[in-house]
């Protein structure tokens, strides 16, 4: 636990293999497996109640698992007590000790670890400084603002210099501005200390902006793990495609064309190749809003009617009607100038940007014929 340098540590900080956990009749974790590389900012991403918190609690040792194996730094800790795991955790509820002041909250875990007083004082001083809580050291948690409480919770975990830091939706209880600031702050702390972070969040912006490695969870298991770019460029199935990217990917029902080497879509045929599927098969076609563009000159295009214009500052999201289906596209502020609901826009859907998912099971099809 005491800051041995990350270089002489195993490559893999945490490994979960086939982990399952039931709460009564509910499968909280269902054959969950993933690996976290040492020193990575790892994000568990998924909507609420997919098992993110349970996963973190299982790694910390707060939850006993029914099946599978958990390894930390190469050691099997499945049955190990909480104490020896070398992890620190920040709870969504912060879990500050209400009867201790800020500096006592910081010092508490260190005192229990038996550190000498001058070392404790020094670390508390550093932590207080680092999280700009100097003016609050003698306050009790209940007198602090939400952001300050969050920083105390974070500080209490960081002060232990853990090898692995578990963060359970730590920004959920903060307002938007503070959340934004804390994202940058967390990234900075990660760079500074180089510990492995496992971060659970239902917020895709948090996941994509902070995560170096993201595991997308669904119903207690990981459906895809990869870098933010991987997840964005090549979502493995409809679930990931729909969750990652803002604004979300447009998803439309289509089918493999019998006539051309491509798709039959609500707004005509697209020469995209057949994705290894036979003609007539039902698929879901996906296209990122940012991949859709306006036609230049006499380029082939489809005319679509503008339904909604959402200006977001430097970009504008325009919803257009595509033969009954709705498509969202992203235009630059200049490009969207003068666009009004009811206008017709010449829209180009680049065939090479189209993702195709098999309708039957939602699996992404590789591009090609």
């Amino acid at each position: 636990m005491q800051g041995s340098s990350q270089s002489d540590r195993p490559q893999t900080a945490v490994t979960l293999t086939g982990v399952s956990k039931q709460f009564g009749a509910v499968d909280a974790l269902n054959d969950l497996s993933f690996e976290v590389s040492t020193g990575k900012f790892f994000v568990l991403f998924g909507p609420s109640s997919v098992g993110k918190t349970t996963t973190l609690r299982a790694i910390a040792g707060l939850e006993k698992i029914d099946a599978g194996k958990i390894e930390i730094d190469g050691q099997d800790v499945t049955e190990a007590p909480i104490r020896g795991r070398g992890v620190a955790m920040v709870f969504q509820s912060f879990a500050l000790y209400p009867h201790l002041t800020v500096s006592q909250n910081f010092a508490y875990p260190l005192k229990e670890a038996g550190l000498p007083a001058n070392e404790i004082n020094q670390r508390v001083g550093e932590t207080v400084e680092m999280l700009s809580l100097s003016h609050r050291t003698d306050n009790q948690p209940s007198t602090l603002s939400g952001g300050e409480q969050q920083r105390v919770a974070l500080g209490r975990a960081l002060i232990q210099r853990p090898n692995i830091l578990l963060l359970d939706e730590p920004l959920t209880n903060l307002d938007a501005k503070l959340r934004h600031d804390m994202r940058a702050e967390l990234k900075r702390l990660h760079r500074q200390f180089g510990m492995t972070i496992i971060y659970a969040t239902p917020d895709e912006l948090e996941a994509l902006s902070m995560g170096e490695d993201i595991a997308v969870m669904k119903e207690g298991t990981v459906v895809q793990q990869g870098s933010p770019d991987d997840l964005y460029e090549t979502p493995r199935n409809l679930y990931v495609a729909a969750k990652i990217g803002s604004p979300h990917m447009n998803l439309l029902d289509a089918s493999i064309s019998n006539a051309v080497d491509g798709l039959d879509t609500p707004f005509g045929e697209l020469s995209t190749g057949r994705f290894g599927l036979s003609g007539g098969e039902d698929v879901v076609m996906g296209i990122r809003p940012s991949d859709i563009r306006l036609a230049q000159d006499s380029e082939p295009h489809v005319n679509m009617k503008v339904q909604l214009v959402e200006p977001l500052g430097d970009i504008t999201i325009v919803s257009v009607d595509a033969a009954g289906a709705n498509l969202r596209m992203v235009l630059s502020e200049a490009g969207a100038l003068g666009v009004q609901p009811g206008h017709e826009l010449p829209v180009v859907i680049p065939a090479e940007s189209v993702h195709v998912f098999r309708k039957a099971d939602g699996i992404a099809m590789p591009a090609g014929t």
Partner: protein
């Protein structure tokens, strides 16, 4: 108007009708006047009228006797002789210099310290036990709470049977080892123990109930955070559990001390003050009821009341200060 008619009717009837009829008529007239007053005031003073019966009971049963006895304590008065003479502070002077009073106060203090300590410790341990989930917990909880709902007299009677020299459970158990009949109450220490056990049996559940309320209010995630922070169990208790129940413990201590200071029923039934277990409350009772020293016992009661009020305020002061400190 109605009241004038009533008075006239009562005055006439006093001459015409037999005494008992006049009495009833007077009562009816009074009731009529009261009802008229209520009906007139209804609407304007609804709230006041609604609490009036409770206030009336309070005045008749509590406040009037309180003031009346305060007055009596400055007179020389015996309930068996209807003579009254003002003596000023003589009663108070007498009780302060009375060695028996000091002796009874010492006995009371000893019993208070012992019984409250036992209650607090046992109650606290029970609360720790019942804060965990285990099979049949609900039913056991009800059983444990039962003594609190019994009357003092019943508890005293139970324990008198337990302690009975010939067929009591305690002495029968002792008979397994000796042939002598075992009399717990035969020595001062035994008698004190007997009283403390009975009183603590009755009131430990009360302490448990309060502490349990504190224990279940501790958020579970604090314990989880502490276990991730590698805090050992007894330190978790000290820094998380205890601060949550501290206030309620103090409250239990306050209630139980005040009650124990007035300890009467159990002592009266178990030892009747024998083996130097006569508490101050029992002493007051004897002075007032057995020896008919009405005004003297009134002054003694006032000293007791004063003591309890001082104790209460001391506790409240401490509790407030602790609360401010957190």
């Amino acid at each position: 108007m109605a009241s004038i008619v009533g008075i006239v009717a009562v005055a006439i009837s006093a001459f015409v009708l037999p005494v008992i009829a006049t009495l009833w008529l007077t009562a009816a007239a009074c009731a009529l006047v009261a009802v008229t007053a209520v009906v007139n005031a209804w609407g304007r003073y609804t709230g006041g009228l609604l609490v009036a019966p409770a206030i009336a009971v309070l005045v008749v049963m509590n406040i009037f006797p309180l003031l009346w006895s305060l007055g009596l304590s400055f007179y020389n008065y015996r309930a068996d002789r209807q003579t009254l003479s003002f003596v000023g502070l003589r009663n108070y002077e007498r009780l302060i210099t009375d060695p028996v009073v000091w002796d009874r106060l010492t006995t009371t203090a000893l019993l208070v310290v012992l019984t409250v300590t036992v209650q607090m410790v046992v109650g606290f341990l029970l609360a720790l036990l019942f804060s965990k989930q285990f099979p049949l917990r609900r039913y056991l909880l009800i059983l444990v709470l039962t003594p609190m709902m019994l009357s003092y007299v019943a508890v005293g009677a139970f324990f008198r049977y337990y302690y009975d020299p010939t067929f009591g459970l305690v002495s029968q158990f002792a008979n397994l080892f000796t042939d002598e009949p075992y009399v717990l109450i035969s020595s001062t220490a035994g008698a004190v123990a007997a009283i403390v056990i009975a009183d603590a049996w009755m009131w430990a559940p009360f302490v448990m109930l309060l502490v349990l309320a504190g224990l279940v209010s501790v958020p579970k995630y604090l314990y989880e955070a502490a276990s991730v922070d590698r805090v050992p169990a007894w330190r978790r208790f000290q820094s998380i559990t205890f601060p949550y129940v501290k206030g309620l413990l103090l409250l239990a201590l306050l209630f139980r001390t005040i009650e124990a200071f007035k300890l009467f029923d159990v002592v009266f039934i178990l030892t009747d003050g024998g083996q130097s277990t006569e508490t101050i409350a029992l002493y007051v009772y004897r002075q007032a009821i057995q020896f008919n020293k009405t005004s003297y016992s009134a002054s003694l009661s006032y000293v007791l009341l004063f003591t309890v009020i001082v104790l209460t305020n001391l506790y409240l002061y401490l509790a407030n200060r602790r609360a401010k400190e957190g």
